[in-house]
């Protein structure tokens, strides 16, 4: 039994700059090939989808399990309700407090005349 064709995302767009073979204002379709690669085509959407289905399957993403987990969830809108807690008070740092922080929790490195070595 032949494998089911891969359904790739095809998106409509419009040419605003002119790579070879395209003119400004032309209506195009973008076919997602991989997370960082798209094909821009002047073909109609049906042909773009056929072209997309014929492309080899992209390598599996390290994030595929996470993507599967959230598949189909509607995009976020708004915030979850919160319940009030204690108010965090603003606070100043005196010279002594700032120096104590900078002294007790010491700098990673002293100032140098050139950039520090790579750690």
């Amino acid at each position: 039994m032949p494998a089911a064709p891969v359904r790739r995302k095809v998106t409509k767009g419009r040419v605003v700059r002119t790579p070879e073979g395209f003119e400004v204002g032309q209506s195009v379709h973008f076919v997602a090939v991989s997370p960082r690669t798209w094909i821009m085509t002047l073909e109609p959407v049906e042909e773009a989808e056929r072209l997309a289905a014929a492309l080899p399957t992209p390598p599996e993403s390290p994030w595929s399990a996470a993507m599967t987990r959230v598949q189909g969830i509607p995009h976020a809108a708004g915030r979850r309700p919160r319940k009030a807690g204690s108010v965090e008070l603003d606070s100043t740092a005196s010279d002594a407090e700032a120096l104590a922080f900078a002294t007790i929790v010491v700098p990673k490195r002293r100032a140098r005349s050139t950039r520090a070595v790579v750690r």
Partner: protein, 270 residues
């Protein structure tokens, strides 16, 4: 097994609201120079990146802004602010409303309806180890490398072994991420403490191991550090776990405070 290698130590139960270290689905981004184009479509996969033109300059002189691009990434990101910072304006507003005569539930409802409260949240993207030079992986995986924070694999959350890039922190409107399904996992208290240490080390370039060394020298845990103001001379008081009080005076000639290291000049824009 240490915290950075043991998912049972690293991950913990989620709080009712967003908390420091939560891993969420979000967009993060970095502004770049004169690059990019109009993005044809939204990303379809996690880890996908777009370099889009934000605006185009025309004069190449001030006060006009230069051309600007945004390298935007869609995927997983870690919440960086402490939970208290994420609720500060909300709590203040509720307190004001209650003081003005509203009941607590009314005040919470009104504050929840105000989308301007605690609107901004800092996030840093999760990256795969494939994006990292081989010689740097061990330092990142063990939490030793400045500017990075390790994320061990979480099978139930669908998260591979990854790391958080603290150099690519960006600000996002919290309403884009504050929905439960978009939070995949949360950190344990121990991992949150390591995240706070990593943030302090990266942003203030502090070496927190000195604090451990002090406790080791004292032979017990320090429970309080109090700077004592005595005019020009610095004096610091330590309280130890057994209640002992130690006071240290700075020498008469303290070393100068650290200044910013000199930076290599960057090439000017033509």
């Amino acid at each position: 097994m240490p915290w950075y290698d043991d998912a049972s130590l690293y991950y913990g139960p989620s709080a009712e609201v967003l908390a420091q270290g939560d891993i969420v689905v979000a967009a993060t981004g970095v502004f770049e120079g004169d690059h990019g184009d109009v993005s044809p479509a939204s990303p379809l996969h996690f880890g996908e990146e777009r370099l889009v033109q934000v605006w185009l300059g025309s004069t190449r002189t001030l006060p006009e802004a230069p051309s600007l691009g945004l390298r935007a990434q869609w995927g997983l990101a870690m919440v960086l602010p402490h939970a208290c910072a994420l609720e500060k304006e909300f709590n203040e507003h509720v307190a004001l409303l209650v003081a003005a005569g509203h009941t607590q539930p009314e005040a919470e409802q009104l504050a929840n309806d105000d989308v301007s409260l605690d609107r901004f949240i800092a996030l840093a993207p999760l990256c795969t180890y494939a994006e990292l030079a081989l010689e740097r992986r061990a330092g990142v995986q063990t939490g030793a490398r400045l500017g990075a924070f390790p994320v061990p694999e979480n099978v139930s959350g669908g998260i591979p072994a990854a790391w958080v890039d603290l150099r690519r922190i960006s600000t996002t409107d919290v309403s884009l991420i504050d929905v439960e399904p978009l939070r995949l996992v949360s950190l344990s208290s121990l991992a949150q403490a390591h995240l706070q240490a990593a943030l302090a080390k990266h942003w203030a370039y502090r070496d927190l191991s000195r604090y451990d060394e002090l406790q080791h020298a004292f032979g017990q845990r320090i429970t309080a550090v109090v700077p004592i103001s005595t005019g020009k001379k610095m004096r610091v008081g330590f309280t130890l776990e057994d209640g002992a009080q130690l006071v240290f005076d700075a020498s008469d000639k303290p070393p100068p405070p650290p200044s910013a290291p000199a930076r290599r000049p960057r090439p000017s824009r033509s």
